[in-house]
């Protein structure tokens, strides 16, 4: 009971703060936080692969970008689509590509898996980059945000920033809860077993490929949810959403936050976005703020060096450090 309470405290505090946030602010910070929560969903989807199953993918942005393009391309040119079919359709497109990529890439392991997932993502990137399908390098605009219409009644207006904010927050909580339950289930334990020792899993009688394939497809679908949300938020998509920079960034969020824990992915997304915002701040960095990637990269290198288990591992690291320094005090 106490362990459960301790495990739930941090997520509940974060949810409380996020729920109250729109009461305190509007405008830029609200939109910024919406964006970060979308990134957190994206990071959670990758955590299912990297942290839970031990599959390091460097092509995760493909699913994010494909769902974003699907959102725009499937929306009618003159009028709004209904969210209740557009959302499943966008997620479905991402899941379908993940099903295909997973079927081929999961036959490889380790560094080969990284390269194959990257190759499939770059393939998707160049389809949008070099063809007129999605407006080429310029990208394409979403003219009307989807409506939330059920049985003829308009429920909410996603065009209002606060409404959209709460919609994203609801998605984030749902994804987090889904994964938390999933990872404790029989299916989730098999993924943990595959991460720890796939050979033993096969010897025990688990055909591991279908499990990995299902996890890969689900991760692609959840990345698709993030892509759908970002397309609605920005009202614009371009090929850069599928590029390897984006795949690398989401992997960095996991590393920064700490792998193997769902909270780590959320924390990593927030830390990454805040650091990026901070280093772009001209008041502090003046002209040098143009070179923000340099500062961000350096900071991440330092973080990895001093926090091997990520931000989520800092409390444990701190306790271990205290225990080493003062064994008596730590025990009492």
């Amino acid at each position: 009971m106490r362990a459960l309470a301790r495990r739930c405290t941090f997520p509940l505090v974060v949810i409380g703060l996020l729920l109250a946030f729109p009461l305190a602010t509007t405008g830029f910070y609200l939109e910024f936080t919406s964006k970060v929560m979308i990134l957190a969903i994206f990071a959670l989807s990758l955590e299912l692969l990297v942290g839970a199953t031990g599959l390091v993918s460097l092509g995760h942005a493909a699913f994010y970008g494909i769902a974003a393009y699907a959102t725009v391309l499937l929306s009618p040119k003159f009028g709004a689509a209904n969210l209740f079919w557009l959302l499943p359709a966008a997620i479905g497109c991402a899941a379908l590509y993940a099903l295909f990529v997973g079927a081929l890439s999961l036959r490889t392991r380790g560094v080969y898996f990284i390269m194959v997932t990257l190759a499939f993502a770059q393939m998707a990137y160049y389809v949008f980059h070099d063809t007129k399908l999605g407006g080429g390098t310029d990208g394409i605009y979403l003219n009307f945000k989807p409506e939330v219409v059920l049985l003829g009644a308009r429920l909410v207006d996603l065009g209002k920033p606060a409404v959209f904010y709460y919609f994203v927050l609801a998605c984030l909580i749902s994804v987090f809860a889904l994964l938390a339950v999933l990872l404790e289930s029989r299916f989730g334990r098999v993924l943990a077993g595959i991460r720890s020792n796939e050979q033993r899993m096969r010897a025990a009688g688990f055909a591991t490929f279908p499990y990995k394939w299902a996890a890969f497809t689900l991760a692609g679908a959840l990345a698709g949810l993030a892509g759908f949300l970002v397309a609605i938020k920005d009202g614009f998509v371009n090929p850069e959403m599928l590029s390897w920079h984006e795949s690398g960034a989401v992997l960095l969020m996991l590393i920064l936050g700490g792998m193997g824990r769902l909270s780590g992915a959320v924390l990593g997304a927030f830390a990454f976005a805040l650091l990026q915002l901070f280093f772009q701040w001209e008041v502090v960095f003046g002209n040098f703020s143009k070179h923000w990637p340099l500062l961000l990269g350096g900071t991440i290198i330092l973080c990895v060096a001093f926090m091997p288990n990520g931000l989520i591992g800092v409390p444990a690291q701190w306790r271990a450090w205290r225990a080493r320094r003062r064994p008596e005090a730590a025990r009492g």
């Binding site: 404790e184 289930s185 334990r189 020792n197 010897a203 009688g205 055909a207």
Partner: protein
């Protein structure tokens, strides 16, 4: 072997080639319930490859494998495992960061996987928790159930690996050097564990410790360069001049 007692595992003409090298050559083997069947031979004789071929970890080049009367020659390793074939590895193969109990519970879950059930906690799975508890009782690890597996002693880890096999309710156990690296006391404990497992299981034991092999085995097969040169009761094998020349002679001069 008791006459009329059909073997649980039967291999005929089992052959595995790696390019020009024949690691396992035309091996015939029967494993019967209630017996420990030891396979001995010098390093590189093909013992581990034989286990890999029988368990389906690597494909067989020629020959056939029958498990409980079914032809499993073309079956994958997980499918053979679900049909009742458990194995241990020469290098300890466990889940080091899980508890001892969860190590056994997870392998036991393979018997009834229910992967579509995403809403029930695995720790509430009645079948796998029962099987895990039984396996820990049977292997004498019940007292260590809540310990982290990676922090066990070497001997306890080897015991755990066998418990993880037992938890899947196999009929045939293929054990690859379960005594490797063990002290005298640990060896004794493992040997009594193996004798206790004879009931209900057919056991294939690959082992280098000759004293142990002759003490616990009911039948011994000797391999040289991938081929079987003798397969009989321990006393007969010990007296076989060809075996003495090829293998025992090198060790026990």
């Amino acid at each position: 072997m008791a006459e009329g007692n059909a073997p649980l595992l039967r291999a005929r003409g089992a052959t595995r080639r790696f390019g020009g090298l024949t690691a396992v050559s035309d091996v015939a083997l029967d494993l019967a319930e209630g017996e420990i069947h030891a396979v001995i031979g010098t390093n590189g004789a093909g013992k581990s490859t034989l286990i890999n071929v029988l368990s389906g970890e690597i494909a067989i080049t020629a020959g056939s494998v029958e498990l409980l009367g079914q032809d499993v020659t073309r079956w994958s390793q997980p499918r053979r495992a679900r049909a009742g074939l458990g194995r241990s590895y020469q290098r300890t193969t466990i889940f080091p960061r899980f508890t001892v109990f969860e190590n056994c519970r997870l392998t036991a879950q393979a018997t009834r996987q229910m992967p579509w059930n995403w809403w029930t906690a695995a720790s509430a799975c009645p079948l796998s928790t029962t099987l895990a508890r039984e396996a820990l009782d049977r292997t004498g690890l019940a007292g260590l159930a809540d310990r982290t597996a990676g922090l066990l002693s070497h001997g306890e880890k080897r015991q755990l690996e066998i418990a993880m096999c037992v938890a899947t309710r196999p009929r045939v156990l293929l054990l690859d050097e379960p005594l490797a690296g063990m002290g005298a006391e640990e060896t004794e404990r493992m040997l009594s564990l193996l004798s206790g497992l004879k009931e209900g299981h057919a056991i294939l034991l690959v082992e280098h410790d000759m004293d142990a092999v002759f003490r616990v085995s009911d039948r011994i097969t000797v391999m040289v360069n991938g081929a079987v040169i003798a397969s009989d009761l321990p006393a007969v094998v010990r007296a076989d001049p060809e075996v003495q020349l090829a293998y025992l002679g090198e060790v026990h001069v």
